[in-house]
């Protein structure tokens, strides 16, 4: 992932569904501080919500961290969602609209990818999932 850290990243533990709310509020505040427009803030908050819910639904606990990033004179927000859950065996399938193994619509990951500018997912069975996304401020 591109970008240089500007500030110490903030973290939010994700263990219960109340943490999903907390995570998207942190993300939204940070996005506002960086200067994202209101529509962009909404997109970011929505993406965080999806990432956090995936943790609660599939891995029970995990962590979401937030960092302001700066690259090539662009400012952005990087969000990393990590868990030590069962992991995803077939990432390709998980990235297809409509795929779901749990109690969600299965739109979470591909939808999140559409919302954000950069999307990276790493996982192996038994080793949890790490999703890193970046949203860049529009010029």
């Amino acid at each position: 992932m591109t970008g240089l850290d500007l500030a110490a990243p903030q973290m939010q533990r994700i263990e219960r569904d109340g943490d999903v709310v907390a995570a998207r509020q942190i993300g939204r505040h940070l996005a506002a501080e960086i200067g994202f427009s209101r529509p962009e803030q909404a997109l970011i908050a929505t993406a965080i919500s999806e990432l956090a819910r995936n943790i609660v639904s599939y891995a029970e606990r995990g962590m979401i961290s937030f960092a302001a990033v700066d690259a090539e004179r662009r400012q952005g927000l990087r969000i990393t969602a990590e868990d030590r859950g069962p992991g995803i065996a077939d990432i390709h399938a998980a990235m297809t609209d409509g795929f779901s193994t749990g109690n969600s619509l299965g739109l979470g990951l591909p939808g999140t990818q559409r919302i954000m500018d950069e999307f990276d997912i790493r996982s192996a069975p038994g080793e949890g999932v790490t999703v890193t996304v970046v949203k860049w401020k529009s010029r």
Binding site: S37, P39, S138, R139
Partner: protein, 302 residues
């Protein structure tokens, strides 16, 4: 200036921004520089005459003559040219040199010196110089050829600097125009209570498409609109990405409680929409603005 040099580094092609790489690309070695420099005295002696001949040649073209307003201007340009060619044989080919060459390229570009004029002038100079050098070094034509070949390599490297600047300047102009086009305001017109018309004119790049979305959706909220007519008659090119974005925007409008009609689609765009699987149900369209407004008015009555 630094920016211009640095930005060329990111461009495609084997010669990157690094001067060392460029020199390697042109196969310019220390020997070439020494050999070109060996021509310095000869070039100095001959330059003035060549330039005089060149201007006689140049000014026989009406188009070229129009570039010059006065004899003083011609004298000034001649002097500049003398310096330019002198530097060519003695150049260190370092960063300062490249920066200077690019600056000159910019000046040429701005003052309307076309690449043809520029390259033609160069060819004229090299050609004349070449003949004179061969004449002078009749006793050692092999060496004369070697010196000239080295000079030609350096001259090509030199021309490349100026031409890169031309291309960059043009690109910057195009970008500037595109930005201006994309900054054209998109008005939100209230035709009557609850009915908005948004005429889109110009190009719809991704930036402008985004701001159109924001305007349309906020327009719905601010005017409490229940129907929107989006007219894209004046949009130059609608590719599938833009079409997809328009459909997403209209879907978002529906989530807010407003119906929308898209008017002014060209036959090609309509076909493109069918190709990406958009059907009449997802997208209400009307052939022209008039019908679009009528359609929207009927929606208001429901």
């Amino acid at each position: 200036m630094d920016d211009i040099i640095a930005s060329s580094g990111g461009r495609h092609g084997p010669p990157g921004g690094q001067i060392a790489d460029q020199l390697r690309w042109f196969d310019i070695t220390e020997t070439d520089r020494r050999q070109a420099e060996a021509l310095a005295v000869t070039a100095d002696e001959l330059a003035e005459q060549i330039i005089e001949d060149f201007y006689a040649h140049l000014l026989s073209f009406d188009d070229a003559r129009r570039h010059f307003r006065s004899d003083e201007q011609i004298a000034r340009v001649k002097k500049g040219q003398l310096k330019y060619f002198r530097e060519l044989v003695t150049a260190a080919l370092d960063e300062d040199y490249v920066r200077n060459r690019r600056q000159i390229g910019q000046i040429h570009e701005r003052s309307g010196v076309t690449p043809t004029l520029y390259v033609g002038a160069y060819a004229y100079y090299l050609h004349r110089l070449g003949h004179r050098v061969m004449d002078r070094m009749q006793d050692d034509p092999g060496r004369a050829l070697a010196l000239l070949l080295s000079l030609i390599k350096i001259a090509h490297f030199d021309m490349a600097q100026a031409l890169e600047t031309y291309v960059e300047a043009r690109e910057a102009t195009i970008e500037q125009r595109e930005r201006e086009m994309s900054e054209l305001p998109t008005p939100v017109l209230q035709l009557r209570d609850g009915l908005l018309l948004i005429p889109v004119v110009g190009t719809l790049d991704s930036y402008r498409a985004r701001s159109l979305t924001v305007k349309l959706l906020e327009g719905i909220r601010d005017h409490r609109a229940r129907a929107v007519v989006l007219d894209i008659t004046g949009v130059a090119a609608v590719d599938s990405a833009v079409a997809n974005h328009l459909i997403q925007t209209m879907t978002a409008a529906r989530l807010m409680g407003a119906s929308s009609v898209l008017t002014g689609l060209s036959a090609e765009v309509a076909q493109a929409l069918v190709k990406i699987g958009v059907t009449g149900e997802a997208l209400r369209t009307a052939g022209d603005l008039q019908h679009g407004i009528e359609m929207a008015e009927r929606m208001l009555e429901i």
